[in-house]
Symmetry: D2
Subunit: 287 residues, 4 copies
Amino acid sequence: MSRNKNSAILLISCPDQKGLNAAIAEFIFRNNGNILHADEHQDEDLGLFLMRVEWDLADFAIPMTDFAQHFAPIAKKFGMEWSLSNSSHRPNVALFVSKYDHCLADLLYRHRSGELACEIPLVISNHLDVQALADFYRIPLQVVPVTKENKSEAEKRELELLAPLKIDLIVLARYMQVLSPDFIRKYPHRIINIHHSFLPAFVGGKPHHQAYQRGVKLIGATSHYVTEVLDDGPIIEQDVVRISHRDTLEDLIQKGRDLEKVVLSRAVRWHIESRILLYGNKTVIFD
Amino acid sequence: MSRNKNSAILLISCPDQKGLNAAIAEFIFRNNGNILHADEHQDEDLGLFLMRVEWDLADFAIPMTDFAQHFAPIAKKFGMEWSLSNSSHRPNVALFVSKYDHCLADLLYRHRSGELACEIPLVISNHLDVQALADFYRIPLQVVPVTKENKSEAEKRELELLAPLKIDLIVLARYMQVLSPDFIRKYPHRIINIHHSFLPAFVGGKPHHQAYQRGVKLIGATSHYVTEVLDDGPIIEQDVVRISHRDTLEDLIQKGRDLEKVVLSRAVRWHIESRILLYGNKTVIFD
Amino acid sequence: MSRNKNSAILLISCPDQKGLNAAIAEFIFRNNGNILHADEHQDEDLGLFLMRVEWDLADFAIPMTDFAQHFAPIAKKFGMEWSLSNSSHRPNVALFVSKYDHCLADLLYRHRSGELACEIPLVISNHLDVQALADFYRIPLQVVPVTKENKSEAEKRELELLAPLKIDLIVLARYMQVLSPDFIRKYPHRIINIHHSFLPAFVGGKPHHQAYQRGVKLIGATSHYVTEVLDDGPIIEQDVVRISHRDTLEDLIQKGRDLEKVVLSRAVRWHIESRILLYGNKTVIFD
Amino acid sequence: MSRNKNSAILLISCPDQKGLNAAIAEFIFRNNGNILHADEHQDEDLGLFLMRVEWDLADFAIPMTDFAQHFAPIAKKFGMEWSLSNSSHRPNVALFVSKYDHCLADLLYRHRSGELACEIPLVISNHLDVQALADFYRIPLQVVPVTKENKSEAEKRELELLAPLKIDLIVLARYMQVLSPDFIRKYPHRIINIHHSFLPAFVGGKPHHQAYQRGVKLIGATSHYVTEVLDDGPIIEQDVVRISHRDTLEDLIQKGRDLEKVVLSRAVRWHIESRILLYGNKTVIFD
């Protein structure tokens, strides 16, 4: 992957038909754009055309703000759903966390080291434990305690904190509260969760305990978009690690942490770099 | 792993207590056995002691046939469940297969090349398709067609074929019939199945279709002992392979085949080499 | 990957410049081809544009035999190196093998099961051992013994056997003779070898022995195009498997076999499906 | 692995002979120790017996300080090399780092979260960059700049810093200076390095650049004990990650970082938990 300082990225899905590639490539060329990457996929069962194309904006004739207007005829002709992003735009990401802070620490380190091209204007936690970590990375922390009784108020408070920051993506970095459908609908396909199992195995609470009981030989982690059905949203990334009878439940949890960090951080990076195209309950990762 | 031509292998499980290692090692030493391998595991939650010990029989004072008698006092004192095997004994393995013959072909090849130290006196199939393969490897094939109507008779016929051959292990090498509880009880923990998913994800029929629908990023295979609950027996081995949106359902099936061969053959080899200790619904693999 | 029964596949490399995608897509569209897959890569260091594009031939206006003529203006304008293949064409593949027949058995099984869309008109071996296997799969076997003294004559004989069969690809399926530069020049980038190590570690003979001595924790296998420098050709695919101190040299060899089969068969399939684009001493795999 | 609060761990290597297991197990039992783990390995080529045994000290009759005296007769009889450690003892570990701080940050996080049962009384760096990180985790940092000219003085200074802290283990967490033989001899088999390649491939400087040039399909990382020959010491752990043509050199470096963290931290943990037995130029990992 190149990380061009100033490129445009277009994600497209539409019914497949002849001439799609030509129309898109010709449009970019006519407006003096140099295509840096183009990757295309067809879902043959659904007859869908799915594409990610990235081009250099150096000599591109159309300002980003006018793109929609110029691209409209093509989009209309082919019935496209599309979204445009600019590689120089750094999206605003909010991190939610509870007590386990390994994913938070990992994401903040990657952010500081330049691996994640985003802003992180806010960390929200239902516990005080991560204050020192947030301070070290100089990210504002807001603590919003959540109980059964105050859950709806707590979510209201969280939404109030998010709204003025124009948050593009919420990352649940081992946030142990289940978000309400109302909350999720506010950020459709813009909430990424890390579940500490190989979904769909071990849905719900305490997946490592479930895995230990079942005697599996590998444990997994899954990053996915959050939908209203628990642990059922489109999967972005998964990975596994081998365990043996020598591993106690505590070992599983420790090995799991290394997985969760990597699997969550990949999902966040791909989202930020506009590499994920959602369709149905699946994702295409244009890597 | 060494593959000593003439060694004894003892698998032991019992409540943990002091002196177990000493008693076992002293018994073998007193009778002039040289320990080749000794591996021990404790399940701390259950307070269980689990051990595999292998020793050279070259100068061992006790004939295998008299072992039980001599070992009885120790076994009784510690409340041991134990089983003894002889590395020079080649267990009798029957292979069951339906139409997909990749696991069968793989096991027969490994058997011929010396990787599996067993006899294979019989292949049973509910289809005629594998005749040429069985002939090539000179293994007798018995075709036992199975329908909904004749299922119980078919199983009766299978049991009749197995009985005179003193079968130690049945391997379901992509055998697409569900065995009845009656059949399974005849070979308790001596039937190994390969399921083409990462259990407990995608239990039951067409797991690759299920995986494709769910949009997972890895597909798996699981070898396990067959119990009366479908796809729920003790897991012996699992592995996974990465897939992407570029993979069609057909690609999943093809990638799955490579997994299934490896995952099943490992389970068969470990069983034959007395490396698997069952307890509860789990396995310890002494590799 | 779809496996369209009748599609054209074009592999292109040329200096990167604006308008390449548009020119190619427009050419296909103008001639009424429906693009099934298009994947493009740029080597930014070298300023190279590398592409694989596949389109349905159902309504395509140009016969394959006339393609070069029609495509010439575009190819010339952009300075393209290109090659065209037809998915319905089954290339002729010759397999070379010595005594270890696991890769041979694996490739023949995959061929018979439809996984490899090629013809295999010939197996050449310097030993008699694989006769039964070749017979079973009904592939003609030619035995060409090789000694230090007769090496150049033996290669001459092999070339004579290959010539009339219009061999597109030679696969060294654990063929233990080093081919001469003269031989290799006859089949430039059309000879694939499997080396039983993770190259460039353990070049040359007995890599498993070298790995065992060095005490590595993973062993590998590498499939690569054969060039005149031993084990130095462009790498197509690699994979590894974990080993431990419990593994003897014999175990390494056995675990290695499973790797070699998978790593070689992937390379062969990708070559057959025109998924490999060579540039410099590297490969791009359009999967 | 259990992490018993107060257990003894004995690592033994000696020529193999009958009665070894019995003598050791009987010694522990006679002194009222309960064996928690016992794992044994034989190198058949070298005729070596290698063992790790761990037992509960709760009722053990011999104080650790007197162990050598009581165990001497057995050790002498069998010609044992042995070392004893106590799980409640937290070894002193010094971390060396240059500019790349991902391994340092990872180790410090794991230490704080309880995953590494050691003390870290000192970080030494040849750069100032890691001051904030060391401060955050409240670990004293000593900056010792190293140039070609002052190298021997710098090492002298480092040794002076280490000596009063009774350092058990030095971890080179991406420390980019080659230590002199004199330095290494002061800490024989007590310096662990992380090399960012799959050794023995890509020895020496800039291994990611070498890997990128060679066109490998996997990149690796290797943790090993430092010996006087560069990148040639006994390997403790290795792992790899898949790359593709889409990955730039920068991507390799980034993917490599995730590997290095995991591969180094495992080695450090195993050393701390006395799970590594060195013999020849190899390691046995008793996991």
